[in-house]
Symmetry: D2
Subunit: 127 residues, 4 copies
């Protein structure tokens, strides 16, 4: 049964003690707070703010998913040992054309440490 590790479920204390472990596994969604309806909107998903994830044959980031609430928007499979995986710091920019306000989140799968979920990011729509 794959567990889902969520940033919100981890205590501040625990985050401090195992800072590097949490940091390099947790994806984050980076974008503006508001988007213009029907226009391309850039959403960056990145792994690790200060620490880099290993990229070993049996320990790497396998995929990154972008979700809007319960809806999967995009699913990126990364071939191990190449691409941003080289550095362990996976990064990708998606371009959305939103029609309504969104609650975005990202999921990352580490082949050794399971599924990790980002904080959610509210995006309001303006006309």
């Amino acid at each position: 049964m794959p567990r889902v590790f969520k940033s919100v479920d981890i205590s501040k204390e625990e985050k401090e003690i195992r800072k590097d472990y949490f940091d390099r596994h947790t994806p984050w969604v980076i974008c503006e707070d508001t988007a213009k309806r029907g226009e391309k909107f850039k959403v960056k998903v990145k792994l690790g703010r200060d620490y880099v994830h290993p990229a070993d044959p049996d320990h790497y980031i396998d995929y990154i998913q972008l979700w809007n609430r319960e809806t999967l928007l995009a699913d990126l499979r990364i071939t191990p040992m190449v691409l941003g995986n080289n550095s362990g710091q996976v990064e990708v920019d998606f371009y959305i054309v939103p029609q309504n306000s969104m609650n975005l989140s990202a999921m990352a799968l580490c082949t050794k440490h399971g599924l990790w979920q980002s904080d959610s990011k509210e995006v309001l729509i303006r006309d």
Copy 2:
């Protein structure tokens, strides 16, 4: 934030009341209880025992995943409106070559109702 609906979390009562809803969304893992080490072992994953899931342009089963504990074994993307999706009863047989005992589970993504997780299935290894 994608939620994960798990068969174990749903009360018996609720399962009875909304029997068709739970049945057609929940994947199940079907295989023998023991496997011979290093030999091909068939694992069937199926959606719905008694009820069929819809297959509409905006409501279909998007993917089926097979997991061994925290490890993703296989990820099957299904093009909507074709394949087993026609009938809403997705079915696939994977062939594993296990080295150790396994705790298998499956995940299914419905484009309207989120992620669904099967009961887990223990498989013991024999030599």
Copy 3:
């Protein structure tokens, strides 16, 4: 530019000389010659008849796709070093619910030797 290696393009002579190389890379589609319209129909895709493909960290089968003419039916991503990949002999059974006659083929991606295409398999529909 990924090339696509097709069984039909390779001369009989060359196939004989490098028999193991071609055999272990070429997927094959195994199913009945006719299917009943609207009923579940099993399609097996297998890699290698007589030889097994390696399963090394930098050399493995990454995905298997099932196509009906120009239409992708299903796309199976396999986590390296696990599943049928252990033995190098990937195998999967898809279940299709066909409405019309089909011309099936499979594609396999080897991380070292590119894309490989099976012979095509005609399936006629009966009522």
Copy 4:
């Protein structure tokens, strides 16, 4: 048997006559001509320069792949009717950490018109 439509195989005349058809199906790889060894390098893949692809339930862009010669770097599955698919102009930025010179190309799958391959893009490495 999925055919692969390549920009280089299509005559200049044909491209002129069916300009919109070719334009909206052909992905293009956009990046600098040189990259610094071991540093993150941005590679944009975009569909359509002047024309937008439809985004209908049975006619949409299903996936975008980024290749370095015979090696798949990344495989992006896009849920139909959402994301950049809304506008038909799929766009994504990958971040590579190259160690050697590359020959990049992209593939796009249209659910109605098959596989389309971009022109290839040489990237030289500098220290």
